[in-house]
């Protein structure tokens, strides 16, 4: 039997090979003056007052706040150069920066500020999560460069919340409509020049920017949803910069880049806290001895070194000491399994002969440890915690579910231990503490069983509206000390951001996890 074909096979193979070779792709690198970055999705229409699909880092490139948040909770002037607060803490008068124009040439003045507040306050329900929006009674134009903000209560975090990326930033009045902005026109250093759906967004420098001009002329943000593909894109020179948490780059890839010296790597200071909330409203964690024993039983150093690749420092308290009002010198719960066992013995949780799980009054010492099932890191940490607890006779049952189901558990308190991060700057500590009073938060659920819960909530209510700095410090000390002593949290590590760059100088970290300081970056010589 003779079939034709061998020749044909050869031809096809040759054509395929030729196609592969002539496609020859030299390591790209960005054109001069362009920084190529990547993000999981397009940046959205960029409306300063709206949420998803607007991406926060990009909103911050185009729109600016009245004041800026700096490391340690320091507030510095931005579009407002000065402000005075009335003695009763209810009236804020802002003096606006002179000579600022929107990128379409219209001036930034008191009328523009008021127009933006009007749009915001017309839809208060949308911003219900932010206490400031609920607190605003009125916004008045005093003169072209002066604006007065009147509040219902003397709400102290007002300036902190004015510094947020959204929703209190300013678009040109010419583009404001009741249905959002017609086009992204802000006062910021960048303008959104082009969006190609699913492929990239292009930002160009705002020629009329009032502040220092960024060194880069253009920023291209490529859409790369998958962190592994992003790492490959960096390695092959398709992008110059990876910036952010584990959603942007996995610890594996980051460690590989760092050890092999591929590009420059950097890790930020603590930005938020990775913790487990311990449910005081449910047995057996309603027993303070059990919560303290759990805190002493977990070997955080081992978790930080082995599972977090040393990228996140060990956490001893709910908030890192680099946040406002949080450097309190609380005594950490050190890793001390013997002490944990002693605490449990004293509380009547004893090991039956030949058993591995402690029992009290016929009840085994068993807790549900809930985590996001497809989050490899949470799973690994949960397993390590489980092993640590097992060593002192606590049976931790692992419950791995999808993110949405875990959130539902946080809301209704169906957990023994559950993962939860604090919100980071500038929300920590005030917004986070504020949320502890709301029943739908893991924190409320975790604290529900504390005998002094009502007292804690009252102090939280007071700390947000006190105008006396010393009193505020004392209240925070009380709240955070009580929570620490009651051991309703198992702080594990402080979350950090990571950056990998090539050919870029000045890559640093901002005070907030959501803002990327592109302005300080410049092409390496």
């Amino acid at each position: 039997m003779a079939f034709p074909g061998t020749g044909f096979v050869r031809t096809v193979a040759a054509v395929m090979l030729a196609a592969a070779l002539t496609g020859g792709h030299a390591a790209a690198g960005s054109p001069k003056g362009t920084l190529t970055y990547s993000w999981t999705s397009n940046v959205g229409p960029l409306d300063p007052h709206r949420y998803s699909p607007n991406q926060m880092f990009a909103q911050a490139m185009v729109y600016e706040p009245l004041v800026r948040y700096r490391e340690g909770g320091v507030i510095e002037p931005w579009l407002a150069t000065a402000w005075t607060v009335s003695p009763d803490g209810r009236t804020y008068d802002f003096t606006l920066r002179e000579g600022v124009v929107f990128s379409d040439g219209t001036p930034f003045d008191a009328a523009a500020v008021k127009a933006n507040f009007d749009v915001l306050l017309a839809d208060r329900a949308k911003h219900e999560w932010l206490e400031l929006v609920a607190q605003i009674r009125s916004v008045e134009v005093l003169d072209a460069a002066k604006v007065r903000l009147t509040l219902k209560d003397p709400y102290y975090p007002t300036l902190l919340e004015l510094a947020l990326i959204r929703p209190v930033r300013f678009a040109a009045p010419s583009v404001l409509t009741a249905d959002g902005v017609r086009a992204p026109v802000g006062t910021g250093p960048w303008m959104l020049a082009e969006t190609k759906r699913g492929e990239y967004d292009l930002f160009t420098r705002n020629p009329s920017y009032w502040g220092p001009k960024p060194a880069y002329e253009r920023i291209v943000v490529k859409v790369i949803p998958d962190p592994t593909s992003r790492a490959v894109a960096f390695e092959t020179g398709e992008i110059d910069l990876i910036y952010g948490g584990t959603g942007q780059i996995s610890a594996d890839s980051f460690t590989r880049f760092r050890t092999r010296g591929i590009g420059q790597t950097a890790v930020s200071a603590p930005l938020a806290t990775r913790t487990l909330a311990i449910n005081s409203g449910r047995a057996p964690t309603s027993d303070p001895a059990v919560r303290k024993a759990i805190n002493h039983a977990v070997n955080k150093d081992a978790i930080a070194a082995k599972l977090l690749y040393g990228l996140e420092p060990r956490a001893d308290t709910l908030f890192a000491p680099n946040f406002p009002y949080t450097d309190l010198g609380l005594t950490p719960y050190g890793y001390d399994p013997a002490r944990a066992a002693r605490l449990l013995d004293e509380a009547g949780w004893t090991l039956p002969p030949g058993g591995t799980v402690r029992v009290r009054g016929g009840q085994p010492l068993r807790v549900e440890l809930c985590f996001i099932g497809n989050d490899a890191r949470e799973k690994a940490i949960a397993e390590a915690v489980q092993a640590n607890l097992k060593a002192i006779g606590i049976d931790a049952v692992l419950v791995g579910e999808e993110e949405n189901a875990v959130e539902a558990r946080q809301k209704d308190g169906r957990f023994g231990l559950i993962f939860g991060d604090t919100w980071g700057a500038p929300y920590d500590p005030h917004s986070f503490v504020s949320s502890m009073r709301v029943a739908s938060h893991a924190d409320y659920q975790a604290q529900r069983g504390l005998p002094m819960k009502a007292e804690i909530d009252a102090r939280i209510g007071a700390v947000l509206v006190t105008t006396d700095e010393a009193e505020r410090q004392a209240l925070y000390r009380d709240i955070l000390t009580t929570l620490h002593e009651q051991a309703v949290y198992l702080p594990l590590s402080y979350l950090t951001a990571m950056a990998v760059s090539r050919g870029v100088d000045g890559v640093g970290f901002g005070a907030s996890a959501y803002e990327i300081p592109f302005g300080a970056m410049r092409p390496a010589p």
Binding site: V12, A28, E402
Partner: protein, 314 residues
């Protein structure tokens, strides 16, 4: 023939109705609330009030039946609603991304046919000799490698190590080589094996023997008597491969940052973006039905014995 086509097309509307109701219910049977995902993507703490507001915004606060009927009514007017995540019209987004997926799928189909047919013929011609062993080994390996893993291997070799091909994005031909190879390999291997077996079987049949006895030239025997008959199962298989190839692109698009419907749909799954998933499923149903119809027509053209309408005429 026209009646056959019309009849087949008439089954499409009830099928789409059934699929849409099924998908609608399945999505809502799963646990979890899209409002929570919306808040997560918006960085808004999920208080009860915030969840309720998000549910109102997304229209999830209404009874299930009402949600479905209003969706259906709008869908009949080709309005598939707004994506929960991008807040854009879903159909508009899907049609925007579809050409990229069709390009990838069509290229993969072309490569599958262009490579598998000669390989299968080559193997059959050299039965139990080296080429046959090679093809069978390749086929064995090919069907065993998951396409996403192959994708990463290709990237490691051709993008990271050799730096010959761009690792992601859509652009010139060079951007297509790796994703197409990753999508096509499995179908290609199945096809090659199938054609080999089919040709060997046909070659042993009596009409081929008679043709030989009649002294027909070998070339003609192969072309008219073996290949034409042996291709029939390949046509059927190709119809199935189209589904496989489109399914494969869903995964591959994510790895290669290919801006197609697959990537859009996968992120929609992750974010519980119900309107996108409902519209996507319908779109894929239409594509599948159309492809199957095309395959049946091709089949009829190749084999007059099964031509529709023939039976009635007989």
């Amino acid at each position: 023939m026209l009646r056959f086509i019309a009849g087949r097309l008439l089954t499409l509307p009830p099928l789409l109705l059934a699929v849409s109701a099924g998908v609608f219910l399945l999505l809502r049977l799963g646990r979890g609330d899209p409002a929570l995902d919306y808040l997560r993507l918006s960085n808004i703490p999920p208080t009860d009030a915030a969840v309720a507001a998000a549910q109102r915004l997304l229209g999830l606060d209404r009874p299930l039946a009402e949600q479905y009927l209003s969706w259906l009514w709008q869908a009949l007017h080709l309005d598939f609603g707004l994506s929960y995540v991008t807040r854009r019209p879903v159909l508009d987004d899907l049609l925007y991304y579809l050409p990229a997926t069709l390009q990838l799928g069509a290229a993969a189909l072309a490569v599958t046919l262009a490579v598998s047919l000669p390989l299968g013929m080559w193997a059959a011609r050299h039965r139990d000799r080296l080429p046959d062993h090679l093809v069978r080994a390749l086929a064995f390996v090919g069907v065993s490698i998951p396409n996403f893993w192959l994708g990463f291997l290709l990237v490691l070799l051709f993008a990271v190590t050799l730096n010959w091909l761009p690792p992601l994005g859509r652009g010139g031909w060079s951007h297509m080589v790796m994703p197409v190879a990753a999508v096509a390999l499995m179908s290609l291997c199945i096809n090659a094996r199938l054609l080999r077996a089919s040709m060997l079987e046909t070659a042993g049949q009596r009409h081929v023997l008679y043709a030989r006895l009649r002294g027909l030239p070998e070339r003609r025997i192969v072309h008219s008597h073996i290949l034409r008959n042996a291709l029939l199962p390949i046509v059927t298989a190709t119809g199935m491969h189209i589904g496989e190839l489109l399914g494969g692109t869903l995964v591959i698009e994510n790895i290669f940052g290919w801006p197609g419907v697959g990537r859009y749909a996968v992120s929609a799954i992750y974010n519980r973006d119900y309107p996108v998933l409902q519209c996507f499923t319908l779109l894929m149903t239409v594509i599948f039905v159309t492809c199957n119809l095309a395959v049946d027509l091709l089949y009829a053209w190749l084999d007059p014995r099964i031509r529709p309408g023939r039976e009635a005429a007989r």
